[in-house]
């Protein structure tokens, strides 16, 4: 349980952010300049906010109303920075051990061998950070944060400096961190993909205010939620792997409905999340036949949201979960799309991006 309440004057606006997050991974989501980094640095104690109350699992780290402020080194954190920030004069192994040197002796110790195995960095231990690739550095940084026996793991856009291939390489490690360690994680991001893959809880910021917060699946399925523009809207479906087919397709099962995706390299039965971008969803009033798209989901319209431009976002409830579709306002009128109407959502298998699929 993480509880944060921060106020701080910023350029152009006053930051005023309060949220409570259940265990799991909480994503602070918003455009650059919305105040995400200010909030996470106030939680870390790297920034002395004008007013700050931060508590983790009942332990108060900072409460300016009671003149209580712990310096960063007493907060027992693991912070994964965007640029890694590994110590260049130490080997990878010494970097990993750095936090352990200062952790209280009675703190629950993460097992070095287990963390090294989980992050796949066994071959790097004797190397220096200067000789590592960007993705390797970030894996070591995750390990270093985790091995400090932290009460809370912080991550400030840890993937932003990496190319797409490296991002795809690191994302699963954060999923494992979330699912296997039980340490609460506060994760700053402006990427819808990362939110969809990682977030248990979503806190969306804009100009220093919380515009929406709640369980990630719910918030992402809300057609009113378009913080980074209508193009990036997309709901998340929770599914599990049902079957791998010979033609390089994987069949998923979500609420009794089969979904076909390009091959997913996970074992049968593995639960995973699939983000379906709203702009890749087509709506039909009758069950379409004779089309190439493999995924057809029957659902009922919950909301239609029309904006200023030509576009409308339609949300529908299917037995697989909430699906969002981005269609034109003209289609909404021509088809008479309205809440309660039964429609079919059509999703091309190949339109689902591999980085939008994962545990």
């Amino acid at each position: 349980m993480l509880s944060v309440d921060v106020s701080h004057p910023m350029q152009g606006f006053d930051l005023n952010v309060a949220f409570e997050a259940p265990p799991g991974l909480t994503v602070l989501f918003g455009r650059s300049g919305s105040g995400k980094t200010t909030v996470i640095n106030a939680v870390a104690g790297l920034l002395r906010a004008e007013r700050a109350r931060v508590a983790v699992n009942g332990q108060v780290l900072s409460d300016t109303d009671q003149a209580l402020w712990q310096p960063p080194h007493k907060r027992r954190l693991g912070y994964v920075f965007q640029e890694g920030r590994l110590f260049p004069h130490l080997s990878v192994k010494q970097n990993l051990r750095f936090g352990q040197w200062f952790a209280p002796k009675d703190a629950p110790q993460e097992d070095m061998a287990r963390v090294v195995e989980m992050l796949g960095i066994g071959d790097l231990l004797s190397r220096r950070p200067a000789s590592l690739s960007g993705g390797e550095k970030q894996r070591v940084a995750i390990g270093r944060a985790l091995l400090a026996s932290p009460r809370l793991i912080l991550a400030d856009e840890p993937l932003a400096a990496l190319d797409e291939a490296r991002k795809a390489e690191i994302l699963p490690y954060f999923e494992r961190l979330r699912d296997e360690t039980g340490v609460p994680i506060l994760y700053v991001s402006h990427s819808p993909t990362e939110v969809a893959r990682l977030a248990t809880t979503l806190v969306a910021l804009d100009e220093g205010r919380v515009v929406q917060q709640g369980p990630a699946i719910e918030v992402l399925g809300d057609p009113l939620f378009t913080p980074s523009g209508v193009r990036s809207v997309g709901a998340v479906i929770e599914a599990r792997i049902a079957q791998h087919h010979d033609d390089s397709l994987s069949e998923l099962e979500a609420g009794g409905i089969p979904l076909f995706l390009p091959h997913v390299g996970l074992d049968l039965g593995t639960p995973l999340r699939v983000r379906i971008a709203a702009q890749d969803v087509m709506l039909s009033l009758e069950k379409p036949t004779g089309i190439s798209a493999l995924n057809i989901l029957e659902g009922r319209i919950d909301q239609v949201r029309s904006g200023e431009g030509p576009v409308a976002i339609v949300s529908l409830d299917t037995s697989a979960g909430r699906v969002l579709a981005r269609v034109t306002r003209r289609s909404v009128e021509a088809m008479g799309l309205a809440p309660g109407l039964k429609v079919y959502a059509v999703v091309k298998t190949v339109s689902i991006a591999p980085q939008d699929v994962g545990g």
């Binding site: 080194h73 920075f81 920030r85 110590f87 200062f102 270093r144």
Partner: protein
């Protein structure tokens, strides 16, 4: 080595002793001042910076005279220290003080540059991992600035070996007490037939200065190689 006479030996040994103490004594204070100038903002920072650099720009004779006024037995600080049993005037300790003061700006400059080159973000990262300010300095900052510290110390040592003007003004030129290498060279040149001895000391001076320079290059290269290497 009977190549050198006893008087010459004395000057060389004294110079080494003086330079060593001037360097070791200046090191902790120099590191502190360099850190303060590189990292902190405080009122009077420019004044401190000026005072540190003063010996570099003042005529050495002026620095020596100011030292005499301050640390002489009748000076305000000198009188107080004399009660504690520490005398600078006309002793080798005074030569070490003069050499230390003259070498201080060089030492601070080298160390300040290396501290400014350390990314404070790394120190922040160390703090989030549980290291207090002191531990951050010991485990992150100090190892990273080590080449600069060593370079500064060696530069200061070489400068202290060659210090002449402030030393001779402050503690005079007493053989065995305050006659360092440069003072001895100067003294030999003042007497007829002393050129031979002076030349030998000049050669030693050049050898010491050159080895100090080479040593610092070697150490700096080794450390930076270790830092970048795989």
């Amino acid at each position: 080595m009977d190549w050198l006479g006893p008087e010459e030996w004395q000057a060389v040994a004294l110079s080494l002793k003086v330079a060593l103490w001037a360097t070791l004594g200046g090191l902790p204070l120099g590191l502190f001042v360099a850190y303060a100038l590189a990292r902190w903002t405080f009122p009077g920072k420019q004044l401190l910076n000026g005072i540190v650099h003063l010996p570099l720009i003042l005529p050495p004779v002026v620095t020596g005279y100011l030292l005499l006024l301050t640390f002489g037995t009748r000076g305000p600080v000198g009188g107080f220290l004399q009660d504690l049993g520490l005398v600078f005037a006309f002793r080798w300790t005074g030569a070490a003080l003069a050499a230390g003061v003259m070498a201080f700006p060089l030492m601070v400059r080298a160390m300040r540059l290396s501290i400014e080159a350390v990314d404070p973000k790394l120190e922040e990262a160390a703090a989030t991992l549980g290291a207090s300010r002191l531990w951050v300095f010991v485990t992150v900052t100090l190892p990273m600035i080590l080449p600069g510290v060593i370079a500064g110390a060696i530069l200061a040592f070489a400068k202290a070996m060659g210090e002449f003007g402030a030393t001779i003004t402050f503690v005079s030129n007493i053989p065995g007490q305050t006659q360092t290498l440069p003072s001895a060279i100067y003294a030999f040149l003042q007497v007829p037939g002393g050129e031979n001895s002076a030349m030998k000391l000049v050669l030693i001076s050049v050898a010491v200065a050159m080895s100090a320079l080479l040593l610092s290059e070697l150490l700096a290269r080794r450390i930076s190689k270790r830092m970048e290497g795989g």
